[in-house]
């Protein structure tokens, strides 16, 4: 039995956060229905030429059924209202105010389903001047203080990462909120509304820098990869183009192992490097020596020889490294799924194991409206001719009726 087999989730999700949350709830056994409209697509469906063949969308929307419906019609709203009554957990991350304009804000939804757990996840959260601002992950790292210190000290300005972090951390917080609220409901019979701010998730993850401000009045500046309690500590260039190995040496025992791996060159015997204090004080010079050693070696050789000596080291990895990683192979960390349009592709597996539970499930992302008819029949008890009439009237969307929808934003 999967742990969440009896849990029903309705997802009004777009982009990264709510889709990722629904994906994980689905892996744990929940029945997750994604509400989609052909005329107002999840923007991740619009970042390539074919809305059903987008890597990021198809990753984030696994383990869900797609219910295609025109939310601007009264009939469409009525059908979704009936799904709301079926739902335990409603997740949404539309721009602030959008759910209200659709008539599915918490105030309305709780009238339909007083026990519902309703999790809203806006970039900046509700109840303030920025609550209805559009927000993508890269904006949130900027607006949360995280980006201001995600840099090397000599960078002209911080650029952080091309990843949408903190999106994929916020999604996990949304799941935690939803499951905890479900437990509360189980005990008390009460549903509730949870208003999560993705910027605040980012701040929570770097809370020590905020305490440095509130306790010490210090505004943190970028420190790159340097540490105040380990040296060497950073990414060191290795043989080849843009190849790096991260190395972290915390104490004197590790330092002696590290030196011996390098063959105890003369510079390592300089007393100024003998203690952590000395290595931290002379870190520029230290790093230069280490770079000299690593730059002639393959990054994987550096990792292996250091690990063999008990020093923490890891290659700065790319996607192909993940696929070849012996530990991840051992754990079975990737999963191949066959998607009707994209074919057989690799996706992240489920990164935890639970005793006595079958391996978590993973199903390919749905085509737009792939499960509309099945949901109408099985959950809404609708007759076949009514379903087909609503498809014809473009109130319901199926994969066949959505072919015209969706154009690339880059087009």
């Amino acid at each position: 039995m999967l742990p969440l087999e009896d849990v029903k989730v309705l997802s009004f999700g777009t982009g990264g956060v709510v889709p990722d949350a629904g994906k994980i709830l689905g892996e744990l056994g929940a029945d997750v229905i994604k509400i989609e409209s052909k005329d107002n697509l999840d923007f991740m469906r619009t970042i390539g030429p074919d809305m059903n063949n987008i890597a990021q969308f198809n990753e984030a929307n696994r383990n869900k059924r797609s219910f295609g419906v025109n939310l601007k019609t009264e009939k469409g709203k009525e059908l979704v209202s009936r799904l709301v009554k079926w739902t335990d957990i409603l997740l949404e991350n539309f721009r602030g105010g959008v759910m209200k304009s659709l008539g599915f804000d918490y105030g309305n939804v709780r009238k339909l389903n007083p026990q519902i757990v309703y999790v809203s996840s806006q970039g900046f959260g509700g109840g303030g001047p920025f609550s209805d601002f559009q927000a993508y992950g890269p904006m949130l790292s900027a607006a949360s203080g995280m980006l201001s210190i995600w840099a090397q000290p000599d960078d002209p300005y911080p650029v952080g990462s091309n990843s949408p972090l903190p999106d994929h951390m916020a999604s996990k917080h949304a799941i935690i909120a939803a499951l905890a609220a479900l437990d509360y409901r189980h005990r008390t019979g009460k549903g509730q509304y949870i208003d999560m701010a993705q910027t605040e998730v980012a701040v929570s993850l770097i809370g020590e820098h905020y305490l440095d401000y509130t306790y010490n009045n210090r505004i943190a500046k970028p420190t790159g990869n340097r540490s105040t309690y380990a040296a060497p500590h950073g990414c060191y260039p290795c043989k080849g183009a843009d190849e790096w190995c991260a190395i972290a040496v915390f104490n004197d025992v590790e330092w002696r192992s590290f030196s011996s791996v390098m063959g105890d060159p003369a510079w390592t015997r300089d007393p100024k490097f003998a203690s952590l204090q000395g290595r931290l004080k002379n870190v520029e010079e230290l790093d230069q020596h280490v770079r000299q050693w690593t730059s002639g070696l393959d990054a994987y050789v550096v990792m292996e020889v250091l690990q063999a000596a008990g020093v923490a080291a890891g290659v700065v990895q790319r996607a192909p490294d993940t696929l070849a990683d012996p530990q991840l192979k051992w754990l079975g960390s990737t999963v191949e799924l066959d998607h009707p349009v994209s074919g057989k592709r690799l996706y992240p597996g489920v990164p935890f194991r639970m005793s006595g539970a079958p391996p978590a499930q993973s199903t390919a992302a749905p085509l737009l409206g792939q499960h509309t008819e099945e949901i109408c029949r099985d959950l809404l008890n609708m007759a076949e001719d009514e379903i087909q009439r609503l498809v014809k009237e473009d109130i319901l969307h199926t994969p066949a009726s959505s072919k015209e929808g969706g154009t690339s934003i880059l087009g």
Binding site: M1, P3, N53, G126, G127, P129, F133, Q134, A135, Y136, P138, A142, A143, G145, M146, S148, Q152, Y157, L165, H168, M169, H173, I175, I176, A180, Y184, Y193, D195, A197, E200, V203, S204, G207, E208, Y210, L211, D212, Y215, I219, A220, G224, N225, T228, Y229, C235, P237, A312, Q317, R318, P326, Q327, L328, W330, R345, L346, P351, F352, M354, S355, A357
Partner: protein, 404 residues
């Protein structure tokens, strides 16, 4: 002060973890669970992590520790000793959840693995966080937040092209493991209501950070593979080319203009200057290809405005523009104030300060920081005497023997 209970108020969590699991149990504490942090008598190594309140190194003043352990109670215990082991078993009998992050075979060596602990408490849910996994070729390797982040796939995308990749602030790799541990514990708690017994959960930093922080990397690569063709290039650092950064009157902004419509909106935000109206600029790929020329052109216009003016104009015109706020800017932002995100916490040694609150507001069961991080052994008497029935004399003896 509200008297409503938190979403997880009835539950007790034993926190045997250090930095790798601290965030997992903090989230439980924020939601009302009784989290008891069980530390070795010499203290969690996280207590020695800088920076410190008042910049004085002190085991009660590590800001990393204070933040991630706020809301928990704390006891000291050396469960490698026979008496300590018995005490831990007594605590396990009264707990719902145990979180630990020792090396793979350590707990089994002490007879404290899940097989043993479930004999004491069949409803116990135990989550073990390891660096690389409980088995497999990397099982005994050494790691750190930096090393795990390096292997996560995010680091190669962080920083400037050609320069050293940049570490994300905080401890993102550890926190990925903490978040997955928390999710799987809550899922096991949900199932426990139906089946009446607990579960063992196995989470590694290596796998959770790799699959959880930026899960799109794997399909991005897989989708680019053409059978018979050359291997696709994999993701690397794009620096400011995708999300350009521009200086403005009082700081920096980051712009997300991908579509022609978003670009048009950006041009309007900047007062529709003629030089930006050249049709070629509407193409995202053209802008990436001519990023430095564009940067030089844009400067003149972005610098006329403040961060917030551009942020608001972007919203009005339809292009996401974010202010790059520093720590003080975010703290002082009117939005942060309106949400009352920071909350005052008074720690007996480190003193009083505002802490980032839980990142969500709940209408029925409030999330809150109910107490400061525990001082070392602060709740020994409360837990050992009031709950396990030890006398004060027993505690003196246990302390003398180095058990607590």
């Amino acid at each position: 002060m509200t008297t409503k209970e938190g979403a997880l108020s009835p539950y007790r969590v034993l926190d045997l973890a250090d930095s790798k699991g601290a965030y997992c149990t903090k989230l439980f504490a924020d939601l009302g669970a009784d989290v008891i942090k069980v530390e070795a008598p010499q203290g969690d190594p996280g207590r020695r992590m800088p920076p410190f309140a008042g910049d004085v190194p002190h085991h009660e003043k590590s800001l990393y520790f204070l933040h991630r352990n706020a809301g928990k109670r704390g006891v000291t215990l050396d469960f490698e000793t026979p008496d300590g082991r018995d005490i831990l078993i007594g605590l396990v009998a009264r707990a719902d959840v145990l979180v630990e992050n020792s090396p793979p075979d350590y707990m089994a060596g002490l007879g404290l693995d899940y097989a043993a602990l479930r004999q004491v408490n069949p409803r116990l849910i135990m989550a073990s966080i390891t660096d690389f996994g409980r088995s497999g070729p990397y099982k005994d390797r050494k790691s750190s937040n930096l090393v795990d982040f390096a292997m996560s796939g995010v680091m190669i995308t962080s920083g400037y092209p050609g320069k050293e990749p940049s570490l994300c602030p905080g401890t993102p790799a550890y926190d990925a493991a903490s978040l997955y541990a928390n999710i799987s514990i809550l899922a096991a708690m949900h199932m426990r209501d139906a089946i009446g017994e607990g579960r063992f959960i196995d989470v590694s930093v290596h796998e959770t950070s790799r699959l959880g922080l930026y899960p799109w990397i794997i399909p991005n690569y897989s989708y680019a593979i053409n059978p018979g063709g050359p291997p696709p290039s994999s993701e690397s650092r794009l620096g400011a080319s995708v999300y350009p950064v521009y200086p403005c009157k009082d700081g920096l902004i980051r712009v997300i203009a991908l579509t022609p419509r978003q670009w048009d909106a950006l041009v309007r935000v900047l007062g529709s200057p003629e030089v930006l109206q050249m049709p070629d600029w509407r193409s995202f790929l053209y802008r990436i290809g001519n990023a430095s020329d564009l940067y030089a052109l844009m400067l003149e216009f972005t610098q006329k405005y403040t961060m917030i003016e551009l942020f608001e104009a972007g919203k009005r015109e339809g292009v996401p523009i974010a202010p790059i706020l520093n720590i003080q800017d975010f703290y002082n932002s009117p939005h942060t104030k309106a949400r009352q995100f920071f909350v005052e916490v008074e720690h007996p040694v480190a003193g009083k300060a505002e802490y980032p609150g839980p990142p969500y507001k709940w209408t029925e069961s409030p999330a809150r920081i109910a107490r400061p991080a525990p001082c070392l052994g602060e709740h020994n008497e409360e837990v050992y005497c009031q709950e396990l029935g030890f006398s004060r004399d027993d505690l003196v003896a246990l302390r003398g023997a180095g058990v607590i």
